[in-house]
Symmetry: C2
Subunit: 580 residues, 2 copies
Amino acid sequence: MAKLLRVNMTDLKATYEEVPEVYRYWGGRGLTSMITSREVPPTCHPLGPSNKLVIAPGIVSGTAAPTSGRTSFGGKSPLTGTIKETNAGGLSSQKIARLGIKAIVIEGQPKDPTKYWVLKITKDGTEFLPADDLVGKGMYEVCQRLWEKHGKVAVIGIGPAGEMRMTAAGICVNDQENTAGRYAGRGGMGAVMGSKGIKAIVIDDTGGPGVEIVNKELFERGIKKLTDASLKHDVTKKGGALNTYGTNVLANIMNEAGGYPTRNFSSGRFELTHKISGEAKVEIIKQRNGEGATGHPCHPGCIIQCSDRWPNPDGTFKVSVMEYESVWALGANCGIGDLDDIADLIWLCNDIGLDTIEMGGTLAVAMEGGLLSFGDAKEAKRLLDEEIRKGTPLGRILGNGAVFTGRAFGVTRVPAVKGQNMPAYEPRAVKGIGVTYATSTMGADHTAGYTIAPEILGVGGKADPFAVQKAELSRNFQASTAFIDSTGYCLFDAFAVLDIPEGLEGMVESCAGVLGTNWTVNDILPLGLQILKAERQFNEAAGFTKAHDRLPEFMTREPLPPHNTVFDVPEEVLDEVYNF
Amino acid sequence: MAKLLRVNMTDLKATYEEVPEVYRYWGGRGLTSMITSREVPPTCHPLGPSNKLVIAPGIVSGTAAPTSGRTSFGGKSPLTGTIKETNAGGLSSQKIARLGIKAIVIEGQPKDPTKYWVLKITKDGTEFLPADDLVGKGMYEVCQRLWEKHGKVAVIGIGPAGEMRMTAAGICVNDQENTAGRYAGRGGMGAVMGSKGIKAIVIDDTGGPGVEIVNKELFERGIKKLTDASLKHDVTKKGGALNTYGTNVLANIMNEAGGYPTRNFSSGRFELTHKISGEAKVEIIKQRNGEGATGHPCHPGCIIQCSDRWPNPDGTFKVSVMEYESVWALGANCGIGDLDDIADLIWLCNDIGLDTIEMGGTLAVAMEGGLLSFGDAKEAKRLLDEEIRKGTPLGRILGNGAVFTGRAFGVTRVPAVKGQNMPAYEPRAVKGIGVTYATSTMGADHTAGYTIAPEILGVGGKADPFAVQKAELSRNFQASTAFIDSTGYCLFDAFAVLDIPEGLEGMVESCAGVLGTNWTVNDILPLGLQILKAERQFNEAAGFTKAHDRLPEFMTREPLPPHNTVFDVPEEVLDEVYNF
């Protein structure tokens, strides 16, 4: 039976323990949130010894289930002060699971805050290897060196940003090509990893026991149903929207809807969208080398394959992945309309170890504050490479995110909730996503309850984006997302299962097969609500109230072009979301 | 009858209005808190147009009442996010009151955030004078220029720190010598004034109607009783502790008690206290010029006269005032043991417009983070004069206070509550003041409920500093302080009235005389509790809960030398304070 691996960084001890019953049926976010909410004192300092970094593959990760390679990273966030789960693709999820590890729980803190370790996990146990040669290095070099030394391991690591405890620091996971492009970016969890004195974790699953599947027949039936749905749905199928254009297929769609936040959320439409859209990306890649324009998986066993590999003008490889959120954050939101500039900025974020969303938001706030001009890609790159990477005072401001930067420069127009910058959907043009931003247990987060599906894409039903009665819609998306985030399945599976009932059945049956439960689709919402409730309770004990479930003041006063609407969802609607 | 002066900075209009009944019987803090709690949306951005800056003299300010020249400044704090009142001596209180103005309520915000005004208030009304020539200037020059232009007016102003919206910025009031040394320092209210586009307010009370006193006989009887008590008590009398040594008489006392926070609250005793104590200060002043060593008043009509005027080694005037808190913050807490260095640092804070307590705490956190060494006065001065004053990125970090600086540099040992750095009393050695820090509506603030009186000084009874059952003690001090802060009387009157019942009667009777109420000493606590309740409700609506009524984690874990005690007041005791 899978074990919990507890790693104590105060005295460098690793112990395997039986999974307590209370954690037994959870995986991914469900597990990181249950462990955090039970074991972390809610008022503790997120970068102190009482916080924990919990790393958990999903319920079906490491099995033959398709598109199930998400790893969840949880704990108390130094960016938001809330509980946090942020997940990534890449190699780690399957390898951790196949070693028979249900979660890695990193506790305590080394006495010397400048000392870093590489944690090596194999079937034989855990080693603490000095990381002196990796300190200060960017994630590209870290991944390369660790493969040279340890073979084709999974790498989980932090760049200089996490070492400097910057609260915009993410946690990086390598992929099959060993590039440093898969990020559990949000909430500053890279700073938590830094505070634990861990530069990287390498996982070698050679000879591991694999994932125990209690009910193999149910599991097999489940993954077949899910695979069929995924390969049938227009969004997720081979040659479908995601597979062909990547997530950045959304750029034109959101721009058309007037909900594509531009120049620090001062407009919902960007005049250069045609130059940075998914369609433009594919065309340029095809012109340059034709490789990785489309159909690139972020982890083995993905059948959606929405990733890509962006080339330099000479055709050599530059960066993976040109995700919708990253391209928007460092593009439209900064007034930057050139994919090569954006690729450079994404590469820098990946190398330094920064969340692309938070950094795009931060640069935009700095632009609004007059530190640089909107559209000035050259200076944006310099700020990342010379200020943040080197930890200059200016770098320390920017590396701590948009709210922090706003306070430093006296900017009051900061589009954030609970300290976290908003992602690529304008709540004044799409009200449901604003309800999710406001009420999510994680701060402003589109993945927490992606109402864009019915509001813009017509997936999972249809909802008028300007209608304000979105409490139930957001709650249902938040709950079902909490469940999906626990399975190890990619959230993009949701597109298929929202429209194809058999797909949803398959998702639940595959999980039930692994765990030996009798879950049906009727259990999804109750299980999701149970996770949300635990997260919400943590937040309440940490000092969060309804007053924090609000969008920033300026969005309720300042009309957004082109629709010239404000965020007018009544506070009672926001307060209704967690009334369950 | 006195009026409210409403100043709208959006369209530069000033209007006088009748005082609504609900504000009629309040003054000072009572009035600023009632106006803020009724008129400011609790979740608004403190530097946005919805916040207000409320300026109110006390109930008896402007009358013949002794030591009654405090001006309260209130609104929502950009440092703490809570409601805030911070008060200062100097010339403003009496002049505002004598113009028949009960409070100045500054609302709205200019469109152009770089445009500043001087607000001139006389018996004839209010003028908005362009302040272009004063922008960027330090408060010493501002005071001088304004006297040259407007005569011996009261000046309320901000330095460059407030213009830059730094959340450690205070509001300065000039004194009889027109020095810029009286500060409503705490909570970043200087940034609020900056956000309103006001560089300075000048008040000329020539020909003003004076303060209406409804029951003159009661008033006269009251001030006589209070004066007698004040002149009799050992702490407040002529030749008493405060009059002879100033507030810094506390340095040796607190050091002896092991509660004098040293080097960022890592010890309760400073080995160089004898070089920076009140006694040392008086001796050095006497050697240098003998003037202002003792008995200097911060406003006309003060009979305690605890201020001083510190000279340079050549006997010329340097700075006023060498307050206990300021000398501690920029001295012991930074490991600096030289009064000339400390005087330079206080002068810089006064000129740039910074709270000395927050800046001492900030420098200490920066020292802990390795930016400079403990004791490095030269670099501390450079940071103030060249970084903060000029608004460099490093200056913008430091100018935003200790918590902000801690986050920038990854320092987790930050002694603050609700974002505000602790003042000069160690809660691990004096538990009652820790209860006040934790639960005050203002963040860590010694003046909010000065339990040091019974715990250390034996004034107002005696309490064991190490005993943890301090809920009632702190509550009573917080409530009576809220009342005193409303009267216009200096809090130091409390020393006398705590021990001499007639003094307390006199304080209440003088207020009742002005207002025409039938208040007795039995009304003090209920009135104070009413203020606290309004403040607490504002904070709750702004998102504060019991989880914020806590000291930082490290103080509950890290024993403090020399007593090697932690802060062990149970959370239930903290939660009991506001259970009324």
